[in-house]
Amino acid sequence: TQETVININGMTCNSCVQSIEGVISKKPGVKSIRVSLANSTGTVEYDPLLTSPETLREAIEDMGFDAILPD
């Protein structure tokens, strides 16, 4: 299991947090996700054989948020 922290811009309320956690936690390979509204981040534990930070980033973008991977 690996962990990645994705910067998420555009979240303004708790329902944004819940939407992202709800959708991303159902993606293949995702073990857990914790979204912080205060820090504008999502911390994802994932299986590197099934998904990648880039795939997860795109999935968050698809939901209408700006998602950026740390370098």
Binding site: G10, T12, C13, S15, C16, D62, G64
Partner: protein
Amino acid sequence: MPKHEFSVDMTCEGCAEAVSRVLNKLGGVEFNIDLPNKKVCIESEHSSDTLLATLNKTGKAVSYLGPK
């Protein structure tokens, strides 16, 4: 162009912004978001199913209210 009305569970401007973004990504839509009433009215040639699937991407509770 046909008009469709959807109920989307949005709670603030930011939620509405996320909805706007997914709709703009789809393209071919003109829409109006009524935040207090949690309604989105979309004018588009896309089918209501396509629009519903697009709105569902936001992860918010969405339902189709009907043509307008």
